[in-house]
């Protein structure tokens, strides 16, 4: 008989986790499909019953998103322009049915190479909070995602929140997802870009991340630094070099070839940058 624990606090959830093998579940949008035709695990610990785990708090220095916050919550929230790319991603995850259940923490802990939440969070320098009986630790999302279905999370840890520093609220940001159909589609490749301008409308900071083209989403830091000082309406595309994508390691699969992924990543990055620079169309 499958048990489902419904802890009321993170501490209680950690106690359940310490008591023996169990599967953490929030939105269930990854846990259930992974079963295929097998029965549910013997013990589930439901994180959606913990009131403190869901919700968005916009603080003075950072925005704190509870790990069990749904993508619908994020899409509907009043967030600064820098987070627009995260909200754009929220609206492209599966479809409404999925966005209403799937959570930001689940998206990261499931660690699919095609996790739509990863590129914008990496581009925002977001961090995750991990709780365990040893206390709380913090890690950048970029380091947390260590590979295909692999994360830094230890078996006795629970992700409690994602924290986005408010470094440049007013920077424009854009998320572009490429799939073979409109809804319910796993990304072939995606790009997130943020461009922060100085008073002369020159690039002060650029942040770029590409997803579904490596085991986990990747920042393009060399390109980011080369863009600094460019005018907002400059030719970003011309600054992009083949070498900028050297760190990506896409695969051939049923959705696309590896070669196409690199090609399309380059195109999406160019478009995302142009839009984040304030252009009306890509």
């Amino acid at each position: 008989m499958g048990l489902l624990h419904r802890p009321r606090s993170t501490a209680e959830a950690l106690d359940f986790l310490a008591a023996g093998p169990a599967t953490l579940i929030a939105g269930g949008t990854d846990v259930f499909p992974a079963l295929v035709d097998r029965p549910p695990p013997e013990r589930l610990i439901d994180l959606t019953s913990i009131p403190g785990l869901r919700g968005i708090a916009v603080g003075r220095d950072a925005i704190r998103i509870g790990a069990a916050t749904t993508w619908t919550d994020i899409a509907r929230a009043d967030l600064p322009p820098s987070c627009r790319m995260l909200q754009m991603a929220a609206r492209e995850i599966g479809a409404i049915q999925i966005q209403n259940r799937a959570t930001i923490g689940g998206n990261l802990c499931n660690a699919s190479p095609a996790a739509d939440g990863a590129p914008p969070l990496i581009a925002l320098d977001a961090q995750v909070e991990l709780a365990s009986s040893r206390g709380l630790r913090v890690a950048p999302v970029e380091n947390f995602l260590i590979g295909n279905r692999k994360t830094l999370r230890a078996a006795d840890e629970i992700m409690t929140a994602v924290v986005i520093p408010r470094a440049f609220d007013d920077a424009l940001s854009v998320f572009l997802k490429l799939g073979a159909r409109k809804y319910l589609v796993i990304s072939i490749v995606m790009a997130a870009a943020l461009v922060d301008l100085d008073s002369e409308r020159r690039v002060r900071v650029a942040r770029i991340a590409v997803g579904a083209a490596s085991a986990s989403a990747r920042r393009l830091r060399n390109l980011e630094s080369r863009l600094v000082g460019m005018p907002a309406d400059g030719d970003f595309r011309a600054r992009i070099e083949d070498a900028d994508f050297a760190a990506l390691s896409p695969i051939d699969d049923v959705r696309a070839t590896a070669a196409y992924r690199i090609d399309a990543a380059r195109e999406l990055v160019a478009r995302a940058l142009r839009l984040a620079g304030g252009a009306k169309d890509a």
């Binding site: 008989m1 499958g2 048990l3 489902l4 624990h5 419904r6 106690d15 359940f16 008591a19 579940i25 939105g27 269930g28 949008t29 259930f32 499909p33 079963l35 295929v36 035709d37 097998r38 029965p39 549910p40 695990p41 013990r43 589930l44 439901d46 959606t48 019953s49 619908t72 599966g94 479809a95 409404i96 049915q97 999925i98 209403n100 259940r101 490429l178 073979a180 159909r181 409109k182 809804y183 319910l184 589609v185 796993i186 072939i188 049923v254 959705r255 696309a256 070839t257 070669a259 196409y260 090609d263 399309a264 195109e267 999406l268 169309d281 890509a282």
Partner: protein
């Protein structure tokens, strides 16, 4: 103490419920199995299809992705409660029914509750908002457009529901109300709660020998398992196949399994116990063997044989020849266009996976399951059980989409054998991966197509060859191999013609029937070759088709002169103004284009023979008058969503001269309805329709004879009397005075219609079909040339339908065909052994199917009922080539491999840029 609650409490459709199921149980299972709310359908158990969408606290979620314990205290609304518990639910149900937004009805509950949530929050949604709200629910029948129309109508409160009318009227489906209320029972909905359930043990290898371990020990170790069945348990013959002379598929493989997913054993037991089994513990040892997965590999010298009895892995070859293709043809032709084109496996992806149950009733077996072919099922099940065909009863349930795959047996032999031997009801529901991995597919094709023509564009010769990957078993491979050579000329006159085909066995799931039996693949090749010819001679592609169009006097590739029932040129000419305007608009757009977007407009023609190819395929219709004055129609044409329940009744009502409200339908049941053949080959409106028209006219004649009335007399039935109005006279016949006769009816007529065809001679010449449908689609597309992404902006569909019995249902068939054709062109491919789910196998969503404009050409065909023709397959055939030709118009790139996915298109565009071709 680490307690977990064991009983969730929640509200379902306004009523407080305490749940007995384990809190980790999926909500979809709780609703269906514990609460009996089977209106919520299960399509994938992975959040990929949205069929199980329910509202949780007003928001749509997939019930298959939520553990019931997570919903403690929540408020749930399902389709059963959507009318009472949402503001717009009742209006939406009525609007869906009126607009023809429900065809098979399997996605309808998910669509309805999703739409109800939208309208409750936003009563004036934009098109984009509607699409966004419905984007999470897949539909395989409707092409979504009528669903969007229905949501708009419900929002506006403007709903006109027509429930009666003759041939030609847009009446709402007669079975539509049950569908929009979630009451129409599908295969999984009819399985009794106390039935044992079955799960199959299937090969994990493309080709493998196997041996069983200690099955008795397995049964003993799993209390609740009643028995395991293998080939040794089959009472009759361990063999079935839709074409008897080619029957080669075992119920359970013996010694070797020939495709990944082939069943070798069946575990049957109590529902909960069977659901909880880890089937990887089953005692079977596999020894993988050499395999071939493509037709090319299977034809290599020395390739492993799939069946020892079939040399060179050839199942069958097909052939049609007219005139002579040779040096003389080439000499006469001044221009040659040719292409080599390839397609992949395509999955039917109906929303309802295969399901049903069997029970033994004395020495008879009864099977209630989703099927397209009850009488064929009956005959094969009788052979498998070793009993007489009269001792098998097949009762089709509502069918949640078929498209050809539910012509073949799937779960029926398993539940039949188990129920027969255990003498208990046994049910089975395929999982989505099981459905995708093991049921039939569209044949992958490797095609070479060549047109020889004069410089003015007249076709001189067509040479065509197609090699089809037919998979491990025959299924409908012979039908595909024989139908394609007849159709590969397209609806064009060509004096010299040679078409050859072969169906090649591989270690893949059987390829079988899929909407068009190979003709869509052939048309995609030929119609692109025509565009290539147009480009070579600098002629407008539409005018080139008009120049060569078949007409009433020109012979087809098999030498048939149709005489009437052909309005192909009219279809093309009807497109002409829209074509010219769209081409002009696209050329202007491209001339101005600075960004990556280009536009293109393409056209493609189509013809399709209704019914079996040169083989008998009769339908028999019985119609009777009861003492209460009701007319009973034994409507044995299985309605798989296409609408035969409604169409056939409209034909009967018009031919008999009584209103639809006078009719009671007895739906397909081999004990109750005569054989109306299979629902396939676009034959039901034509063949069953014609049998119906004849039977209804015969019954009318019998009624009129009672009053010695003339043929034009009007009939009314009511208040215990038949009233016959003949000119100025009225004659009353008391029903009480009539004696019951055949089948207990006061009056009864039964008529059979078999289309007049002839066998084809050695060169394939003759009359393969009595009736053909014709049509042409125009596609307008936009392509992002830097990403290879295509968006279809508009389809204009012109179809020669003979007579539109019900224009709403016709349009629904066309829109659904367009969606499937678009999927074939752009996104759908099944890779054997990979991606057996609906997130790797992609079908179009609501955001991918454009508006469809309809041009229905009604030029009655003398052989059809009221002049009508079939439409089911016709609708799909021209879409893909029209889209591919539009891509060529936009970019100059010909698509030689479908689906034209972004990576393939981008690669083709880059190659073009390198070579500078255009």
């Amino acid at each position: 103490m680490l307690d977990a609650p064991t009983h969730a409490g929640l509200r379902v459709n306004g009523e407080a419920r305490r749940i007995r199921s384990a809190p980790s149980t999926r909500v979809s299972s709780v609703l269906r199995d514990e609460l009996g709310l089977t209106g919520t359908k299960v399509g994938c158990e992975a959040g990929d299809c949205g069929a199980c969408t329910i509202l949780v606290d007003g928001e749509p979620v997939c019930a298959c992705l939520v553990a019931v314990g997570q919903l403690e205290g929540a408020d749930i609304v399902t389709v059963e409660g959507v009318a009472a518990n949402t503001r717009y639910g009742a209006g939406l149900q009525r609007a869906f029914h009126a607009a023809g937004a429900a065809q098979c009805g399997a996605c309808t509950p998910g669509m309805l509750v999703s739409a109800a949530a939208l309208l409750d929050g936003n009563s004036e949604p934009s098109d984009a908002e509607i699409e966004n709200a419905l984007g999470g629910v897949l539909c395989r029948c409707t092409g979504y457009r009528k669903i969007i129309d229905a949501v708009k109508a419900a929002a506006g409160g403007d709903i006109a529901l027509e429930t009666t009318g003759e041939v030609g009227a847009r009446i709402a489906r007669l079975d539509g109300r049950a569908k929009v209320e979630g009451r129409d029972p599908f295969g999984a909905d009819v399985i009794p709660a106390d039935a044992l359930m079955a799960r199959a043990i299937r090969s994990p290898h493309h080709h493998a020998a196997f041996s069983f371990g200690d099955i008795d020990a397995f049964v003993a170790a799993h209390p609740g398992v009643a028995r395991v069945f293998t080939a040794a348990d089959i009472p009759g013959r361990n063999l079935h196949g839709v074409i008897a002379p080619f029957a080669d598929q075992p119920v359970f493989a013996e010694r070797e399994a020939r495709f990944k997913g082939e069943a070798v054993a069946l575990v049957v037991g109590e529902r909960d116990c069977v659901a909880a089994l880890d089937l990887s513990e089953f005692p079977v040892t596999w020894t993988p063997m050499a395999h071939v997965l493509t037709a090319a590999d299977a034809r290599q010298p020395g390739a492993v044989r799939v069946h020892a009895s079939r040399p060179d892995n050839i199942l069958v070859r097909g052939y049609v020849e007219k005139g002579e293709i040779g040096p003389a043809t080439l000499a006469e032709a001044q221009v040659v266009a040719q292409i080599a084109f390839e397609t992949g496996f395509v999955e039917h992806a109906y929303i309802e996976p295969e399901a049903g149950f069997a029970r033994r009733v004395g020495d008879r077996i009864e099977i209630a399951a989703c099927t397209q072919a009850p009488y064929m099922d009956r005959d094969d099940i009788a052979a498998i059980l070793g009993i007489a065909v009269d001792d098998v009863r097949i009762v089709p349930t509502a069918v949640g989409g078929g498209f050809g795959s539910k012509l073949d047996l799937s779960m029926q032999p398993f539940v039949a054998v188990a129920a027969w031997l255990l003498n208990r009801p046994v049910g089975m529901v395929y999982s989505r991966p099981e459905s995708i991995a093991t049921t039939t597919k569209r044949h992958p094709a490797q095609i070479s197509s060549q047109i020889m023509a004069t410089r003015e564009g007249r076709f001189v010769g067509i040479e065509f060859d197609a090699r089809f990957n037919t998979g491990a078993y025959a299924s409908w491979g012979p039908t595909v191999a024989n139908r394609v050579p007849v159709h590969a000329s397209g609806p064009y006159f060509v004096p010299n013609y040679r078409a050859t085909t072969s169906a090649i066995h591989t270690h893949c799931a059987p390829a079988g029937a899929f909407r068009g039996f190979g003709v869509p693949q052939a048309a995609a090749a030929l119609e692109q070759t025509i565009d290539d010819l147009a480009w070579r001679i600098g002629m407008d592609p539409l005018e080139l088709r008009i120049l060569n169009a078949l007409d009433a006097t020109t012979p087809t590739a098999t030498g048939q002169v149709l005489g009437d029932g052909i309005a192909f040129r009219e279809c093309l000419e009807a497109l002409r103004p829209k074509w010219r305007e769209a081409r002009r608009r696209a050329d202007a757009f491209n001339a101005e284009a600075r960004g990556p977007l280009r536009r293109g407009v393409g056209v493609a023609g189509m013809w399709y023979g209704c019914g079996n190819t040169s083989l008998p395929n009769p339908s028999t219709m019985r119609i009777g008058l009861k003492r209460d004055g009701r007319i009973v129609l034994h409507q044995g044409a299985v309605d798989i969503g296409q609408g035969s329940n409604t169409i056939i009744t409209q034909i009967a009502a018009s031919a008999l001269g009584l209103p639809i409200s006078q009719f009671d339908l007895v739906s397909a049941d081999t004990d109750q309805t005569p054989d109306c053949g299979k629902t396939s080959a676009s034959r039901q409106t034509f063949v069953t329709g014609r049998a119906t028209e004849t039977a209804a006219r015969a019954l009318r004649a019998r009624i009129l004879r009672l009053g010695n009335a003339g043929a034009e007399a009007r009939i009314e039935i009511g208040e215990g009397h038949i009233r016959i109005f003949d000119r100025d006279e009225r004659r009353d016949v008391a029903l009480a005075d009539l004696e019951a006769g055949a089948f207990g009816y006061l009056l009864c007529a039964e008529e059979t219609f078999d289309p007049p065809t002839s066998a084809l001679d050695q060169k394939g010449q003759g009359t393969p079909y009595a009736l053909y449908g014709f049509g042409a689609h125009m596609a307008e597309i936009e392509i992002d040339i830097d990403l290879g992404v295509v968006k279809v902006l508009r389809i204009v569909a012109a179809h020669d339908v003979g007579r539109a019995i019900n224009p709403t249902l016709l349009e629904g068939q066309i829109e659904g065909g367009v969606a499937q054709g678009l999927g074939l062109a752009l996104m759908e491919e099944f890779h054997p052994g990979r991606g057996e789910n609906l997130h790797d196998y992609l079908i179009p969503t609501v955001g991918d199917v454009p508006p469809v404009e309809h041009i229905l050409i009604e030029q009655p065909a003398s052989v059809g009922p009221f002049g009508a023709k079939g439409i089911g397959e016709q609708a799909l055939i021209p879409t893909a080539p029209a889209v591919l030709n539009a891509i060529r118009h936009a970019t100059g790139v010909m698509t030689l491999r479908v689906p034209a996915t972004p990576d393939r298109l981008r690669a083709a565009l880059k190659a073009r840029t390198r070579t500078g071709g255009g």
